[in-house]
């Protein structure tokens, strides 16, 4: 009997949209030299999700709203530290240290205090194969918001990283765009965490931009290549995971790493 491959459209939509979101954000992260911060944001997203689980159980507030509020608050602390004169890498290191420590405490508390319908491991590994149509709707909403904050203003976002002074002299309010980038990263990491997981976020917010920057000869090409690599990596990783029975998040990460290594070999 011939083997039939089954791909649920929900899986394709969620992984596809998440890939496009990170494919758009990752080149901006590279251009703005935010790799360290972007790498730290999945940690804050995970902590935000765990704190939201606690808040949902104790206060009854909607999980999605709580997690977003916590995420924005946590990310704002990094911005506040930097504005007080702390070096960005130091602020991020402090932030990561605090986030992972509080994550361990929160995780232990949740596992011992609350009956969980969803395993907290899904936030780490991601369960795109278990997404519901509600998750798809939420993913569409998060992706649309991030696209609105980033896509029309790509030139500003990128050029602020290249020459912030010139952008200010051109009449652009750079702090507003800083807030938009940070908010987009926070929304993308916490909003998509339950669908694709911490592992995919860590990989996809960093590797597409790094790989694209090594291949492209223009900023425009870097963004387009980043989008293409992210989408190709996400969907091919999903397909491979379905065929092999391996965790989608891990396979997607390996595919993205393979793209990067191929780009290095091609130099």
């Amino acid at each position: 009997m011939p083997y039939e491959l089954f791909l649920d459209p929900r899986w394709v939509i969620v992984v596809g949209l998440a890939s496009l979101v990170y494919g758009l954000l990752s080149p901006v992260v590279v251009a703005r030299r935010l790799l360290f911060l972007a790498g730290a944001l999945p940690h804050s997203a995970l902590l935000s999700a765990l704190l939201a689980i606690i808040a949902t159980n104790v206060l009854g507030c909607p999980f999605e709203v709580c997690s977003l509020v916590f995420s924005l608050a946590l990310v704002s602390t990094v911005s506040a530290l930097i504005s007080k004169g702390v070096r960005p890498d130091d602020a991020t290191a402090i932030f990561v240290s605090a986030s992972v420590s509080l994550t361990a405490i929160s995780l232990y508390y949740i596992l011992t205090a609350f009956p969980m319908e969803t395993s907290v491991w899904s936030y780490i590994i991601g369960d795109p194969l278990l997404v519901t149509w509600g998750d798809v709707t939420f993913t569409i909403a998060v992706s649309s918001l991030v696209f609105l904050l980033v896509a029309p203003f790509l030139r500003e976002h990128v050029l602020i990283g290249v020459d912030r002074d010139f952008v200010r002299l051109s009449g652009v309010r750079a702090p507003v765009y800083d807030a938009m980038v940070v908010a987009s990263l926070a929304i993308a990491t916490v909003g998509l965490l339950r669908a694709v997981g911490f592992v995919v976020e860590h990989v996809m917010v960093l590797l597409p931009g790094i790989t694209a920057s090594s291949l492209a000869k223009s900023g425009r090409d870097a963004v387009l290549i980043g989008l293409f690599l992210s989408l190709a990596g996400g969907l091919s990783g999903l397909l491979i995971s379905v065929v092999t029975g391996l965790a989608p998040s891990g396979v997607i990460g390996i595919v993205m790493l393979a793209f990067y290594l191929m780009s290095m070999l091609g130099r």
């Binding site: 203003f153 290249v162 010139f166 200010r168 051109s170 000869k217």
Partner: protein, 237 residues
Amino acid sequence: MFRGESFELEGPGLVVVIGPNGSGKTTLFRAILGLIPAEGRVSMNGVDVTGKPEEAGKQAGYVPQFKGEDLSFPVNVREIVESAIALRRRPPRLAFPKEERNRIDEILRRMGLSEIQGKPLSELSGGQRQRVFIARALVWDPPILIMDEPLTAVDPMGRADLVGMIKEMARDKLVLVSSHDPSLFMDGARTLRVVNRGIVAMGPPEDVMREELLSKVYGRSVFLVERCVHVVDGYAV
């Protein structure tokens, strides 16, 4: 750093700002452009631009000092020059109109950048990179040009070309240039300003380039050789 200073500059002409590292050359330029907070008042062509970089940017073109920043993101020459136009237009930005494309092409041609307009900044030499930022500053043909250490990371031949270009631009613009090596601009400069956490001296080069004055600023880096004053600076070598 600059307290109680007041001065007026009129163009066209070349004004050279010299001083050792940490003396405030960049701070002075950034304060003039409104990029850092400053007390007092700055006006350009009668327009108050104090603390307003967007207003200063309409009056003056700025060529920043290259400090060896990470250029791993591959923005290319044309994109940098185009940004001078694109950033002043709000989204949605569709293709550049023909008139603007022609202006960009002309600037690239004048600065000798047409052949390399598709190259990322990271693949350019120091001199080529400076030409790109000069081209960007000239897109709107501003009456004032402020250039912070434009000769940094440029080889000697490139420096000679750039200095010639800067002196040419100073024929019809007010050009403010900071430099570690004042000797390159001496025969074109109208005014020399010496700073060391304040304005130490200002005037025609022949009045300012005196050993006793420069020694106060540069210490033992000043030499008198055959009645000519030289400032030996590690960055200039």
